[in-house]
């Protein structure tokens, strides 16, 4: 086993060791990349699919199949395709029992005690979640780079490595995605209605009451 304690090896070296099935490298590589894999699953999964379950599937595929890679540079696009496939296939694999279980859970949540009063932090949180739901309604082409960009510290270059697209394309898609998101938010404010809940994950807000409209935001559409 390679000893990676006390050092922060280059990603490519670490990925190389993971491809060679080094257990410690497998753990470290997964920990470095699981958050953006989760963001991708979120961007592509159907609403009713559970993010944690899907990420577990991706983690299993990762340890089982990463040794098939020959080039460490192919790792990020490969993990992206594993995550997207897991998200897309999940729509077909949903069991009736799970759907019933989830519906039951939602009913219990709705019956439970609600917030005791208006709270600024809660309103802001709900506003942010509303924006995330709107982002989920964007076309995939714009949704994916926009969400990846929201990951802390992910540059256009890194997003390009994952998606296999040139930085200029990433930049254009993020700019367009932001514009579309802003227009959607403005449209919703004008309409004064909450959109149908989008495909959020386990930490999402299914059953949200629609509190927390956007305040004092002008439209530049």
């Amino acid at each position: 086993m390679t000893d990676f304690d006390g050092v922060h090896p280059e990603d490519s070296r670490l990925i190389e060791a993971a491809i060679a099935s080094d257990p410690e490298a497998l753990r470290l590589v997964w920990e470095r990349h699981r958050r953006w894999a989760a963001a991708l699953i979120l961007a592509y999964k159907p609403r009713e699919a559970d993010l944690e379950d899907l990420l577990q599937e991706v983690a299993m595929s990762f340890v089982r199949r990463v040794h098939e890679l020959r080039d460490p540079a192919a790792f990020k696009p490969w993990l992206r395709s594993v995550a997207i496939n897991a998200a897309r296939l999940s729509g077909r694999k949903q069991t009736l029992a799970k759907k019933h279980g989830r519906r039951l859970r939602l009913l219990v949540e709705q019956d439970g005690p609600g917030p005791t009063g208006p709270d600024v932090a809660t309103a802001q949180r709900e506003e942010a979640q509303r924006l995330l739901r709107l982002a989920m309604e964007l076309p995939e082409t714009y949704r994916e780079p926009l969400l990846l960009r929201c990951m802390q510290g992910m540059s256009y270059r890194e997003i390009g490595e994952i998606t296999g697209l040139p930085e200029s394309t990433i930049e254009t898609r993020i700019a367009r995605g932001r514009r579309m998101l802003r227009e959607k938010a403005a449209l919703q404010e004008v309409a004064g209605r909450e959109p149908p809940p989008g495909p959020l994950g386990a930490g999402g807000t299914d059953g949200d009451s629609g509190v927390g409209e956007r305040h004092e935001r002008g439209s530049h559409a």
Partner: protein, 203 residues
């Protein structure tokens, strides 16, 4: 400047990817149209809110670990299954080629009676040395007389056959732990440790 150029400029500034030229272009644009600043502020707020909501939604990722141990167990089981399948196939294909070796029962190995030093010039010499040394130390008990035929192919000139076969050597050694093969709830074969040994009991 087109709408998309304006959006890209704002995006670069927002994401910290703007060059000095981009900043100069942004300031020039803001001097002509001050609404750009408001647009930048809105975009900044959108980004912060979206990042916060996304971080919350994917926080669950931190609890999902790479199942390295499970995978290692699976690989062990796969090797085990392959071994079992191989053994089953080999047993089915077993063909006594006793006439080939001309021995019955466990033999002491080729040349077991020959003692002394000799040069190793062939695989047979090396094998003879293995038997001699192994029997001295008590590790090697002998060789099973039957060889397991894996394949046979007639030689092109009709003078005979090429045969591929297994030879089986019997060894013994002391080990601290013993495992038997069990079946887990998923129907997979898994090694199960046997309880501490009791003197005189065969396992």
């Amino acid at each position: 400047m087109t709408g998309i150029d304006r959006d890209i400029l704002i995006t670069r500034v927002l994401d910290g990817e703007a060059t000095p030229e981009d900043w100069a272009a942004f300031r020039a644009m803001a001097a002509r149209d001050q609404s750009v600043w408001a647009e930048l502020a809105d975009a900044q707020q959108d980004r912060a809110e979206l990042a916060g909501a996304l971080a919350e939604a994917i926080a669950v990722a931190d609890a999902v670990h790479a199942p390295v141990e499970v995978h290692a167990g699976e690989r062990f089981n796969t090797r085990l299954r392959r071994g079992v399948a191989w053994a089953g196939w080999a047993a089915a294909a077993m063909l006594a080629v006793g006439a080939f070796t001309g021995r019955l029962g466990i033999s002491a190995g080729p040349g077991a009676q020959e003692a002394g030093l000799f040069p190793i010039s062939s695989s047979e010499d090396a094998l003879r040395l293995y038997f001699d040394k192994g029997q001295e130390s008590g590790r090697v008990l002998g060789e099973l007389p039957d060889r397991v035929l894996l394949s046979s192919e007639a030689l092109a000139d009709g003078s005979g056959f090429t045969v591929v076969y297994l030879r089986q050597f019997v060894e013994q050694q002391q080990v601290p732990d013993l495992f038997r093969l069990g079946i887990n709830e998923a129907g997979e074969q898994v090694p199960v440790p046997i309880a501490r040994p009791v003197q005189g009991v065969r396992y």
